[in-house]
């Protein structure tokens, strides 16, 4: 009987811990968002974060998008040929990339690159007293470190996804024309015929949410890190894992919101 009670108690402790963590994260996010709209604004910090999250993630996102488009064209060709529906390859590639794979894969790549870097940088600042130093220099760390990154994440990822969409379609086009023998003009016509504005817009909206989540996880785990190098390492891992899981969970929620009939 006592074993069962211990089990229930541990479940309760876990649940209370999860609720406390969610509450702390929500308050952190609310404070970070509120500082985006309240002066003083740190434009340099925002531009630096935009550069790190956006521009410096371009190579990895571009490569991911090109190869994903190529694989998608190959896979869909082998699958669709069984139903004599090869002509749908172009539309399948463009819809998959713009609606789903562009934002999700770009998000996962940026979480691994920029989210980890964010957590490591802020975590190191925390354990070396730099965050306290900001406070002593009349600077609110939430305003200086967190708010610019949250905004930059929400702005940078949609821009990256525009690039990922174009390169993903290009990857499919290259395989379609070079390997599968499609006529280039017909492939492009099929791509554009089936693409609607809301396919692209929904993907970009997802990207904005994913970018915010990546920055939030990077900042939250970095800001609350403790215990020296090991603590910073743990914060970095937590930031990447949490951001990746949240991207996939929110992808479902947003897809339900945009496309469920």
């Amino acid at each position: 009987m006592s074993g069962f009670l211990d089990f229930v108690a541990s479940l309760g402790r876990g649940l209370i811990g999860a609720c406390l963590g969610t509450g702390r994260l929500t308050l952190f996010a609310a404070e970070g968002i509120s500082h985006i709209f309240r002066p003083p604004f740190y434009g340099r910090q925002f531009l630096r974060a935009l550069l790190e999250i956006g521009y410096l993630s371009l190579p990895v996102v571009a490569l991911t998008a090109v190869f994903t488009g190529m694989v998608l064209a190959l896979q869909s060709s082998t699958g669709l040929s069984r139903f004599a529906a090869d002509s749908a390859v172009a539309s399948l590639v463009v819809l998959s990339v713009t609606r789903e794979l562009g934002p999700v894969l770009a998000g996962l790549m940026v979480a691994g690159r920029a989210g980890a870097a964010m957590a490591a940088e802020i975590g190191t600042m925390r354990v070396t007293d730099q965050v306290d130093a900001l406070t002593t220099l009349s600077t609110n760390p939430m305003k200086y470190l967190v708010a610019p990154r949250l905004l930059a994440g929400a702005v940078a990822l949609p821009l990256l996804v525009v690039v990922a969409d174009i390169l993903g379609v290009l990857g499919g086009f290259i395989i379609g024309v070079v390997k599968l023998g499609f006529n280039p003009g017909i492939y492009l016509a099929n791509t554009l015929d089936f693409l609607r504005t809301d396919d692209v817009v929904s993907g970009l909206a997802k990207a904005g949410v994913f970018g915010f989540l990546i920055a939030l996880m990077g900042c939250y785990h970095g800001y609350n890190s403790k215990g020296g190098a090991q603590g910073v390492g743990a914060a970095t891992t937590s930031a990447v894992v949490a951001a990746s899981v949240l991207i996939l969970a929110f992808d479902y929620v947003l897809t339900e919101l945009f496309f469920a009939r």
Partner: protein, 257 residues
Amino acid sequence: MSETPKIRLRGLTKRFGDKVVLDGIDLDVMPGTSMVVIGGSGSGKSVLLKCILGLIAPDEGTIEIDGTNVLALDRAGREAIRAQIGMLFQNGALFDSLPVWENVAFGLLARRLASRADAKARAETVLAQVGLAPSVGELRPSELSGGMQKRVGLARAIAARPEVLFFDEPTTGLDPIMGAVIDGLIVDCVKTLGSTAIAITHDMASARRIGDRAAMLFKGRIVWQGAAAELMQSGNAMVDQFTHGRRDGPIQMELRR
């Protein structure tokens, strides 16, 4: 000398869980004087400074600066008080992502007290005060030696001409000569600015060089206060054991808590 202490602590108490780190601290620091707080590792020295700075909220007690209880102030009031304080952190706590001159001028730029050009000029002046060439301003903190990082940290602390200066272990990790140089710079800066200073340290030579007064913290309580010059012959058994580094005495090391 003014009757009102620049910094006045009464009954300051801070607990972390069931561990009492500060246990009813009473301390006065008069304007224009330097107080050195000594004590072993874990005695609560850093927590004391962080409470006065507003980085940690105490559980009980009052912290008065110029007669105003800072704990009763709203956020704007506390920020105004904090703007009067400069702090030299133990490890420098310089911002890795910024060049040295921006580190030094950070407080001026953050409070919009100067344009970037004026702030840079001020940073170069302050760097010269701590014996560093203007060219150092263009370097990153990671390119500096430990002694240079301390100097830059000191320059950052004094750049906005604060009325109160805090020094957290200013000579830790430095060789004796560099430690003496940093102490000399600290004394010069405090005298030049007319600031009130609190320094926490383990280094007895540094304590005697920097301090006018000294206090010893043990298990969260002030166990002795007096002139810094008397540190080595205080007549207090705890202070004597600590300052002379004796293994035997009233202070027993807790190897395990």
